[in-house]
C-alpha cells in the first residue's frame, strides 16, 4: 500500500521524560462512579416524543429566538448523549441536537436535559456538520433540474450518492460555503459529479467523474 497523503496536522508532540506515576495505594471507590452509576438505558435511541421534546425545548430557548423566528435552519441530528460523573448532567436523560442555521451560516450544538427540560449546553460555531437528509434530497433536486447536468447525463444515469463536500482551498466556493456533491451514474459506476451550493441552492461545478 503506498503511503497516502494526509491532511494538515498539529505540531508533532515531542516525547517527554517518563513522569512518575501518581499511584494511590488503593483506588478509592469514589473514583469509580462512572462504572457503578453507568446506566445503559441512557444510551438508548431517543423516542419520537423525546426528539420532539428536545427540539421544542431548544427552539424555545431565548438564545435561539432569532433563528427560530426566521426559520431557515435544519436539524442535522438528534441523538442520545451520555456524560460521566462528576458532571452534574451525569445520570440524566440527555439529547444532543445539532442544527445548521442557513441565515447566519453557523452550526448550533446543543445538549438538552430531558429530565429537567432545559438547554444545558449551547454552542454556536463555524463547523460544518454532516448533511441532513433534507439537504441531501435538496441537493439531488437542484442537480437534476440543472440543464448543464441533464445535458451530460447518459441514458439510465441517476443520483447514486450525496456527499458532504468542501473545497481544498479558498479558490473553491465550497471551501467556506455549505456544499454537497451529488454523484451520478448507474450500475455502481459513476459518470458525473455535481457540486451544489446549499446556501444559494445553485449548481457550482459539473465534473465528469474521471476528471474529479
Amino acid at each position: 500500500m503506498a503511503p497516502a497523503k494526509k491532511p494538515s496536522k498539529p505540531t508533532k508532540a515531542k516525547a517527554k521524560p517518563v513522569a512518575k506515576a501518581k499511584k494511590p495505594a488503593t483506588k478509592p471507590l469514589a473514583g469509580n462512579e462512572d462504572i457503578f452509576l453507568a446506566d445503559p438505558t441512557l444510551f438508548d435511541p431517543l423516542t419520537p416524543g423525546e426528539v420532539a421534546d428536545a427540539l421544542r425545548t431548544l427552539t424555545e430557548d431565548r438564545r435561539l429566538s432569532s433563528m427560530a423566528k426566521v426559520g431557515r435552519y435544519r436539524v442535522i441530528a438528534t441523538e442520545p448523549l451520555v456524560v460521566k460523573p462528576p458532571s452534574l448532567m451525569a445520570g440524566h436523560r440527555l439529547a444532543r441536537v445539532v442544527a445548521y442555521d442557513n441565515s447566519s451560516d453557523r452550526c448550533i450544538d446543543a445538549c438538552i436535559d430531558l429530565d429537567a427540560g432545559v438547554v444545558s449546553h449551547l454552542e454556536f460555531n463555524r463547523s460544518q456538520p454532516m448533511l441532513s437528509r433534507d439537504e441531501e434530497a435538496l441537493a439531488i433536486a437542484i442537480a437534476t433540474s440543472d440543464d448543464r447536468v441533464r445535458g451530460q447525463l447518459a441514458l439510465g444515469d441517476g443520483p447514486q450518492a450525496t456527499m458532504h463536500y468542501w473545497g481544498r482551498n479558498d479558490q473553491d466556493l465550497a471551501f467556506a460555503r455549505r456544499s454537497a456533491a451529488v454523484v451520478f451514474g448507474r450500475d455502481g459506476q459513476s459518470s458525473l459529479v455535481v457540486v451544489v451550493d446549499l446556501i444559494d441552492n445553485t449548481v457550482t461545478q459539473v465534473v465528469p467523474s474521471e476528471q474529479w
Binding site: 500500500m1 503506498a2 503511503p3 497516502a4 497523503k5 494526509k6 491532511p7 494538515s8 496536522k9 498539529p10 508533532k12 508532540a13 516525547a15 517527554k16 521524560p17 517518563v18 513522569a19 506515576a21 499511584k23 494511590p24 488503593t26 483506588k27 473514583g31 462512572d34 444510551f43 438508548d44 441530528a77 448523549l81 451520555v82 460521566k84 460523573p85 458532571s87 450544538d109 454552542e123 460555531n125 463555524r126 463547523s127 460544518q128 456538520p129 454532516m130 447514486q160 450518492a161 450525496t162 456527499m163 463536500y165 468542501w166 473545497g167 481544498r168 482551498n169 473553491d172 465550497a174 471551501f175 467556506a176 454523484v183 451514474g185 455502481g188 459506476q189 459529479v193 465534473v207 467523474s209
Partner: protein
C-alpha cells in the same frame, strides 16, 4: 426498546446503530471490569489525489468528502455472530460507489478488533480513505489514566494532548500506543495495521468535546479531531483516543483497516 446487550467470550457490552458514526459499542466490560465507555467510527473521509506526494499537493483541485455511515446508509441488519473464541458485530454500509463493512470483534483473550473493510470502485482509482475511530477507554474507571507511546526503544509517557503518528517503532508485540490505568496497572495496547499509515490523537475528555458530526471544524481550520488538540495535561485524567488510518485505493481491494487492541493486566 431492543435489548442490545451481549454477554459472551468473557465480554459484556452494549451496542447501537448511530445516525452517522456506524455501530457504537458502549459500556464494555472484560472479565467483569470496565474497559470502554464508548467506541465509534465518527467518519470516513475520502479525497482524490493523482499525486500522492504530500509536498506537491497544490495541484489538487478538489477537497474531501464524506457521507455518514449509519441509519441512512446501512445495507441490511446489524449481524451478531459467534466465532471460535469470540463474538462479533458486523454491518454493511453503501453510499453510491463506496461500500464498507464495519466490524467489532471481541475475543475471549481480551482482544478487540474495531475494523472497517473497504470495498467499491469509488468514482475513479485515485482516491484515499481516511477512517476515523474514536475510543473512550475507561480502564477500571474514567480517571487515573495515562497515555504512552513506544519511541526510542522504550515506552514513554505522554504528558500533553497531541498527535502521535506511527513512526515504524513498536515493542516486541507490535504495540505502538497504550493507555494505562494507574490504580490497577491494567492497560489497553494498540497495534496498528502495518499498511494503515496510522496515527493516534490523544485528547483529554471534555464536556462539549463530544464526538463531532463532521470532520469539518470550519473553513481554513484544523479538522476534527486535530481541532480538539490543545496543551492540556493527560496524566491522571480521562483520555480519549482517536485512531486514524490512511488507505489509498488500489487493485488489491477490499482492504480491512483498523487496529488490534489488547487488554492487558486483567
Amino acid at each position: 426498546m431492543a435489548n442490545n446487550l451481549i454477554q459472551e467470550a468473557n465480554w459484556k457490552f452494549h451496542w447501537r446503530l448511530t445516525e452517522s458514526a456506524g455501530i457504537m459499542v458502549y459500556l464494555a466490560d472484560y472479565r467483569g471490569r470496565r474497559v470502554l465507555w464508548e467506541g465509534s467510527m465518527p467518519y470516513v473521509t475520502i479525497d482524490h489525489q493523482r499525486d500522492l506526494d504530500v509536498e506537491t499537493d497544490a495541484g489538487e483541485s478538489h477537497g474531501q468528502w464524506w457521507t455518514p455511515l449509519g441509519a441512512r446508509t446501512i445495507n441490511g441488519p446489524v449481524r451478531v455472530q459467534s466465532f471460535r473464541g469470540g463474538v462479533e458485530l458486523s454491518a454493511s454500509f453503501v453510499s453510491g460507489p463506496y461500500h464498507y463493512t464495519q466490524l467489532w470483534r471481541f475475543h475471549d483473550d481480551g482482544r478487540i478488533n474495531p475494523w472497517l473493510t473497504i470495498f467499491g470502485p469509488g468514482i475513479h482509482d485515485q482516491h484515499t480513505y481516511h477512517p476515523h475511530w474514536r475510543f473512550d477507554f475507561d480502564l477500571d474507571g474514567a480517571r487515573d489514566d495515562a497515555f504512552e507511546r513506544f519511541e526510542d526503544g522504550r515506552w514513554q509517557r505522554v504528558e500533553q494532548e497531541g498527535w502521535f503518528p506511527y513512526g515504524g517503532e513498536a515493542d516486541e508485540h507490535g504495540q505502538v500506543w497504550r493507555q494505562v490505568d494507574f490504580g490497577s496497572g491494567a492497560a489497553i495496547n494498540i497495534r496498528p495495521h502495518q499498511w494503515d499509515d496510522a496515527e493516534v490523537f490523544a485528547i483529554r475528555y471534555h464536556e462539549g468535546e463530544w464526538p463531532p458530526f463532521s470532520p469539518r471544524s470550519g473553513a481554513g481550520m484544523q479538522p476534527f479531531p486535530a481541532a480538539y488538540v490543545g496543551n492540556e495535561p493527560l496524566d491522571g485524567d480521562d483520555v480519549t483516543l482517536w485512531y486514524v488510518a490512511h488507505v489509498h485505493f488500489d487493485q488489491s481491494f477490499p482492504y480491512t483497516a483498523g487496529p488490534w487492541i489488547k487488554v492487558h493486566g486483567f
